[in-house]
């Protein structure tokens, strides 16, 4: 009897596509819609996991675009300490779509950032980039001047990029009730003081996140009509949840919503979704790509994700890799491994939340 499943490839079936293959052989998880050419500028932003993408792109000879470079002569570890070279602009991690929307709106002048600052020991901390200066800024003026540089960098990155890669991290955030703006971290954790009358918890739902991303894309395309988007979802579980749920179910909610939004956004021709989330979390991989804390992704996991990224790109769009192969003789997987080994710790503000976990 004829039916639509008869002529499907083996990867369309769980048994033949997953169960009967050793996990490293599970391939074709991504069919890139568009190539990444050696001449194209690729910019990155997002959650902590997104840093792996920028590192691997650079190591593999792609044109990762750094719109806010550090001063010359600054050693790599200090660059990272001050948030340079982590993403294409110096916002620090952007965990939520609302935060990305807020940055893009501020940069474009659609809205203005509040003049709120956090202070500690006579130093000034940017509520929206609380870890960007390890010991804070000297004064408010310096903080605002630094943020203004970042806002200009965001515009420059959007205008100059061919592809913007964003990694979704969380649905949960803390907002300022009267100001209506969103913080990257709960005030009182990394910096600032928590004020229960002003600081409210928000767990963004599908429609809110989808709307935020649509706005980001509309503003970006207004500046650069040929910009393409590549979305991923971080496989790193929540460090903590304020939702009242168990952190495990809160993680499932968060990642599921983000995955759904990313998938739906990728229905557009110029938007793609890269399944880094699935490559780490799927049962086929039996959790092997997680460190003992069941949260951090191992270097092997990152290497698996990034080698899949480059292999899929090479299969679907050989032109993406051909010129890299001549200039970069290393196998792609080696490049990814090198990138991972070359880096020290990623810059992940959210892990600091662990300090607030009770032991009983």
């Amino acid at each position: 009897m004829e039916n639509p499943y008869l002529n499907l490839p083996c990867e369309a079936f769980w048994k033949t596509g997953v169960v009967e293959r050793e996990s490293p052989e599970i391939a074709n998880l991504w069919r890139p819609k568009f190539p990444l050419l050696p001449t194209e500028k690729i910019s990155t932003a997002g959650s902590c996991f997104a840093q792996h993408i920028s590192n691997a792109l650079q190591a593999s000879g792609f044109q990762w675009f750094n719109g806010e470079p550090p001063p010359l002569g600054l050693p790599a570890e200090v660059q990272k300490e001050f948030g340079y070279g982590v993403f294409s602009f110096r916002t620090g991690n952007i965990y939520t779509a609302a935060m990305l929307e807020q940055w893009v709106c501020w940069a474009r002048g659609v809205s203005n950032p509040p003049d709120e600052v956090f202070t500690k020991d006579g130093r000034y901390y940017d509520p929206f980039r609380p870890a960007i200066e390890p010991n804070g800024f000297r004064d408010k003026e310096e903080l605002f001047a630094s943020r203004a540089t970042t806002l200009r960098s965001i515009i420059r990155v959007i205008k100059a990029s061919d592809v913007f890669v964003f990694t979704f991290g969380l649905t949960e955030a803390w907002c300022n009730k009267s100001g209506g703006f969103v913080y990257p971290m709960c005030p009182g954790t990394l910096a600032g003081e928590f004020d229960p009358s002003e600081h409210v918890f928000k767990n963004y739902d599908y429609s809110e996140i989808y709307k935020s991303m649509q706005r980001v894309m509309a503003i970006s395309l207004g500046l650069n009509p040929s910009l393409r988007f590549l979305f991923t979802v971080s496989p790193v579980p929540l460090t903590a949840t304020a939702s009242g749920e168990h952190v495990l179910t809160a993680t499932t909610y968060s990642k599921s919503v983000l995955r759904a939004v990313a998938g739906d956004l990728a229905k557009a021709d110029t938007v793609d979704y890269f399944p880094s989330y699935e490559m780490i979390t799927a049962p086929a991989f039996r959790g092997r790509f997680y460190e003992p804390n069941l949260r951090s992704v191992t270097p092997e996991g990152v290497s698996f994700v990034m080698s899949n990224f480059f292999n899929c790109l090479s299969t679907s769009h050989p032109e993406s890799m051909a010129q890299h192969a001549t200039s970069t003789p290393r196998p792609v997987i080696d490049s990814a491994l090198l990138a991972i080994r070359a880096q020290n710790d990623l810059v992940c503000e959210d892990v600091l939340m662990e300090a607030f976990a009770r032991t009983n």
């Binding site: 470079p69 010359l72 600054l74 200066e133 000297r138 203004a148 540089t149 200009r152």
Partner: protein, 256 residues
Amino acid sequence: MKRICVIGDSHLASLKVAWVSGLAERYPSVNLTFFGAGGNGIGRVVAREGRLVTTEPHVIHSFTITSEVDPPEVVLHHYDAIFVHGLFPMSLAILDLLRIEESSSRTRQHFSSALRNRVISHRLETGLAGHLIRQIRKVSQLPVYFSPHACFCETLLGMVSRHECDAFHRMMGPLELSVLDSIEAELVRTISHNQGFYLAQPRATLTEKCFTRAEYLNGAVRMTSGFSEAQPDDDFTHMNPQYGSQLLEMLFSALG
């Protein structure tokens, strides 16, 4: 008699000529011995048994010419103080912190004071001056005074091509001495961390835009030619004995 060892790179020439052509007579209670090595030569100098020595032939040769000491080694206990001069290109340090965000704009990328300080201290500590001071500190607790290269001469502005000049003006034009002040404050901190003393470029030698005044360029001589040959016309970094004289007078004043 105060015995001072002056050690540095090719910029030492302005000090040596200033010293032999007049200052030595005015300061009979001071004795200066110069050890100069051009380029990165000081990077090949190491501390050994109370001395600063090198096995690099061109540095040995240069030390011989500049010091007239045999063997050409710095025996540290022969001196009461060490003056390290040059080995730190101040104007390049400034330029590194003045990036223009876009080629068409005048907007500078903002770097925080903490970051600027990290850049400056890193440059100093990992550069030739830092190397030399560390070598000295391995074997001696003598007072160490340090002054960097003079800022580029203002004649530079007229030398660069029009296109480069536009960019240069955009970058340096709005520069104020306060930028130099903040860089020097970090140099003071870094040097004092190494139990040393920082000597700033005499402010009278500077324009308000952080360039060395043109009058301190004319008559600059090359160290490697035995202090007899003039610096080429297109040089804008090596200063003349009038500059060296001001710096040495600052040193003597600091020594008390």
